[in-house]
């Protein structure tokens, strides 16, 4: 009896001491990514470190499996639970497979949020989207309009005619079109995310619309192929190619001038915002529909009915900053 009592007392004391120590210690936030060694996520880790420095009492654990599997992430989550981290911010390899492991984490009092690639609502407290469809739709039109002050004809070169993402963005872009005086959308064509078909479609647009001022491609394959078609056609300066692309892929097109500017979500900001949100929720912010949670320099995240929030406009890249980003992602 006395032994048991002793053990219990010791255990209670130890846990009390540990709890006390934890309070004085840093907030441990684990940034779990799809796989280690991917430029996009390394950049997100940089953003997380930036947030940690700004907050002061935060320790960021950047981790993830070596390949993009849900099994690998589950192992990582289990070891993080064992380590007793305060928060897990995850970009998921599978929407549903991670739910049980993450629920276990939440039962242990760990704050769980997802970012970039989401987890089903029952497996996280909130999800941070890099941007919203409306913001992306507006950005792609704005990028074209900014480079044509007198207005003119623009055309969209999309992925396949049935691609969900692209179709939503194009719908959103059409909604905001009246806000840009003089900009007319003359055609929408589909390159099926194949380099050769996209190239041909871009050539077709150029042949069909002699006054075309810009081609908007909200897809990484399309924007590259269109840039190449414009370069080969000797139309740099006449037709501007813009849309969504990755800096590492678009560096050549920006250098040649075929693309004046393009956009994509900034992974550094994303890692930063995810860390800030995790910290604020650990510190007591309620993650519920309609709540507004601070994201430091990124403003506040407003949660919708699914506890999802959008970070910001996609980040714009041009000749002035492409060199800094092309080696990152």
């Amino acid at each position: 009896m006395s032994i048991l009592k002793k053990i219990l007392t010791t255990a209670a004391l130890t846990s009390a001491m540990m709890a006390g120590a934890a309070q004085a210690e840093n907030v441990k936030i684990a940034l779990v990514v799809k796989a280690l060694g991917i430029g996009f996520f390394e950049a997100a880790a940089k953003g997380a470190e930036e947030a940690a420095k700004e907050l002061g009492d935060v320790e960021v654990i950047y981790t993830g499996p070596t390949d993009t599997t849900a099994e690998g992430q589950i192992e990582v989550i289990n070891s993080l639970i064992a380590q007793g981290v305060n928060a897990i911010a995850i970009s998921a390899n599978d929407k549903d497979a991670l739910v049980p492991a993450l629920q276990k984490a939440m039962e242990r009092g760990i704050t769980v949020i997802s970012w970039d690639s989401g987890v089903a609502p029952e497996g996280r407290m909130m999800h941070l989207n890099p941007s919203s469809n409306a913001l992306i739709g507006n950005t792609i039109i704005k990028l074209a309009a900014d480079n044509m002050p007198e207005g003119g004809e623009v055309a969209i070169l999309s992925a396949s005619a049935t691609a969900t993402n692209q179709n939503i963005w194009i719908e959103e872009a059409k909604k905001v079109l009246p806000n840009y005086a003089g900009v007319t959308l003359v055609d929408t064509v589909y390159g099926d995310d194949l380099a050769d078909k996209s190239y041909r479609e871009a050539q077709g647009l150029i042949a069909k619309y002699p006054n075309l001022k810009a081609i908007i491609a909200p897809t990484t394959v399309g924007i590259l192929a269109a840039s190449q078609a414009v370069t080969d056609g000797g139309l740099i300066g006449k037709v501007n190619v813009t849309g969504l692309g990755l800096p590492s892929e678009m560096a050549g097109a920006v250098e040649s001038g075929a693309t004046k500017s393009f956009a994509i979500w900034n992974p550094i900001d994303l890692g930063y915002a995810a860390t800030m949100l995790s910290y604020n929720i650990v510190k007591g912010a309620k993650a519920e529909a309609g709540a507004e949670i601070g994201m430091g320099r990124m403003g506040t995240a407003k949660l919708d009915d699914n506890n999802e929030a959008a970070m910001s406009d996609p980040f714009t890249y041009d000749a002035s900053n492409i060199a800094d980003f092309k080696s990152i992602f």
């Binding site: 064509v189 077709g204 647009l205 042949a207 892929e249 050549g252």
Partner: protein, 326 residues
């Protein structure tokens, strides 16, 4: 026989002219010389690949791995260029690698005796998988390629880009090989009547091996041209292009059963497909209709070919049947 061949090619030529006329009616700028040159240049990679595929099909085989071979050699060429290897070495290396990949197909068909459709279906996946292993799925982009690497196919000589000239050279060389050399004639013999070929002293397996090697080498050449032209190399380059190559052969009257067809028909098949691909974007057809239209055009072309061939096939069957009954 000669007359039948001529009229089939002639029929396809009329179809191409009629189709071009309809397109010109809807979009007159399509038939300007520069636009037609563009279309020809855009079709050049298809033509080179179709020559290789034609030879393979003539020997009663099929090469479904051409697009994957193209993608793998293209990626290797881009990586070699990135490592600073001069262009004068990159192109021969690409052709040699393509030939080696073709030889793998050829050996499996010749020595192991696996049907070619199974062999190339497998190697198609393997070759794409190898690209993934080499690069971890990363892209090689325009700014990572040297200027010389990107400039060659675009260089204009006598009014046409080098890529078009390469295609013309390949067509000319193989037009001679197929009609004037022992190897060229043995491709027909092997596909037309394998048993007779054996009696004539032709090694069927070895000839098929040669066909796959040529197809691979040409795919290697196109690998460089393709990656250089679109200035990007990644795993899915030319995804599904093998079907276009086979379609162009079939439209051009190359019999899938082997032994029938020629360079002229194959090239007409390419031009037919190339015009459809280049015209559909400019004549304002809904993207949902485009696939159905190109598919219908292919079926129509093949149906016409089949009708052309029908009297001959019937005659042989009937003679044999009556012969057997008698």
């Amino acid at each position: 026989m000669k007359a039948a061949l001529t009229s089939r090619d002639a029929l396809l030529t009329y179809a191409i002219i009629a189709m071009t006329a309809v397109i010109a009616y809807r979009f007159p700028a399509f038939i300007t010389p520069s636009s037609l040159a563009n279309t020809f240049n855009d079709t050049a990679p298809l033509m080179i690949l179709v020559i290789g595929q034609m030879i393979v099909i003539l020997t009663k085989c099929i090469d479904l791995s051409v697009a994957a071979t193209l993608a793998l050699t293209g990626m290797v060429a881009a990586l070699m260029d990135g490592a600073g290897v001069p262009l004068a070495l990159v192109i021969p290396a690409a052709i040699a690698l393509g030939a080696m990949l073709g030889m793998v197909n050829g050996l499996l068909v010749w020595r192991v005796g696996i049907p070619s459709i199974v062999v190339t279906l497998g190697t198609m996946t393997i070759y794409r998988g190898v690209i993934f292993l080499m690069t971890d799925g990363k892209w090689v982009n325009a700014h990572e390629m040297s200027d010389a690497f990107k400039a060659l196919p675009r260089l204009h000589v006598l009014g046409l880009p080098v890529m078009s000239w390469v295609a013309i050279a390949v067509i000319a060389i193989f037009a001679v090989i197929m009609t004037r050399t022992v190897l060229g004639r043995s491709f027909y013999a092997v596909g037309g009547n394998p048993h007779a070929a054996v009696y004539a002293g032709i090694d069927v397996g070895r000839t098929q091996f040669a066909a796959f090697s040529i197809s691979g080498a040409l795919a290697g050449l196109v690998g460089y041209l393709w990656v250089s032209r679109y200035a990007v190399a990644y795993v899915d380059v030319a995804g599904g292009f093998e079907l276009d190559v086979v379609a162009a052969c079939v439209i051009g009257g190359i019999s899938i059963a082997g032994g029938i067809g020629g360079v002229r028909g194959a090239i007409l098949g390419c031009i037919f497909l190339g015009i459809i691909k280049n015209a559909l974007p400019v004549i304002g057809v809904s993207p949902f209709w485009q696939m159905a239209i190109s598919g219908t055009a292919i079926v129509l072309a093949v149906a016409v070919n089949a009708l052309q061939n029908r009297p001959k096939g019937r005659l042989i069957l009937k003679t044999t049947e009556t012969g057997a009954r008698a």
